[in-house]
Symmetry: C2
Subunit: 134 residues, 2 copies
DNA sequence: TCCATTTATTTACCTGGGTAAATATTATAC
DNA sequence: GTATAATATTTACCCAGGTAAATAAATGGA
């Protein structure tokens, strides 16, 4: 009985979350899915596309499309590696310069998203989500 | 510090959630957003579109598009009311007949989504999500 | 060596979220 | 009564998720 409407509540929070994220990224011309890839590259350095979509847990075509946009807007470059099937993705200088500032903005936005919860509840939430996704 | 990566975790659970929902709706030719509207109509009876998007907390054009698909596939009908701006939406006989069975399927899918959590944790999660969305 | 299989990426097409602007109708103020 | 404002819906166009199938390159086995 208690699982009734789970989909609905998850759906609601997901839309709210991407709205808040998109909002704080707007001034940089970025969207939340683009940010998630840039964040990934900032923490891991050069990656091939397969690394990215496996880490983010999305499908390969989704990453292809988003990377195309990120390349067009000058946030990443893609090179061919020794294995010519792979594409090596890395941040541009513009990205390396701006990302730390953007990260701070995103962290503030995350705080706003959770501001109705106490510190304890915030920790509980993250842990429950991680447990489901594990 | 604890709010770091909230967007990421929420995003993950959201995709998992819609995947599980779509999967259990596949045999009826439905998608999760379509189900959410049908569920809404099943509980509330005839509604106008504004009632639907305000309840689901999405934008009007999103509901317009999804209703068009639901009408094409024979789940709902739309009529004009006394106020000619409004469109009254209601379930077809096919929908009324199948929805109770579909609801049971969806409830089972919701249980699968949460199966890694204890009963207590499931309640905690729903309550935390509701609190954020309130 | 050569053919079959695997792997990495892309293309085409579907659903579903958003915003901005257009349309049609109703409500309101003067 | 008529012009203006508000309301309900739609249209056009973004971004982002998915699947299925195509392409290209590398790997492996006979």
């Amino acid at each position: 009985m208690n699982s009734n409407k789970t989909f609905h509540e998850v759906h609601q929070i997901a839309r709210l979350s991407s709205k808040v994220a998109n909002d704080c990224l707007k001034e940089y011309g970025l969207y939340h899915a683009q940010w998630s890839i840039l964040y990934c590259l900032m923490k891991n350095g050069q990656m091939i596309q397969t690394d990215i979509w496996r880490y983010l847990n999305v499908e390969a075509p989704t990453v292809t499309r988003t990377l195309t946009r990120l390349e067009e807007s000058g946030w990443v470059v893609r090179k061919h590696g020794r294995d010519k099937r792979e594409r090596l993705v890395e941040l541009t200088d513009k990205a390396k310069e701006l990302l730390p500032e953007i990260e701070k903005n995103v962290q503030r936005a995350e705080k706003r998203l959770l501001e109705k919860l106490t510190e304890t509840e915030q920790l509980q939430l993250i842990n429950l989500l991680k447990k489901i996704n594990s």
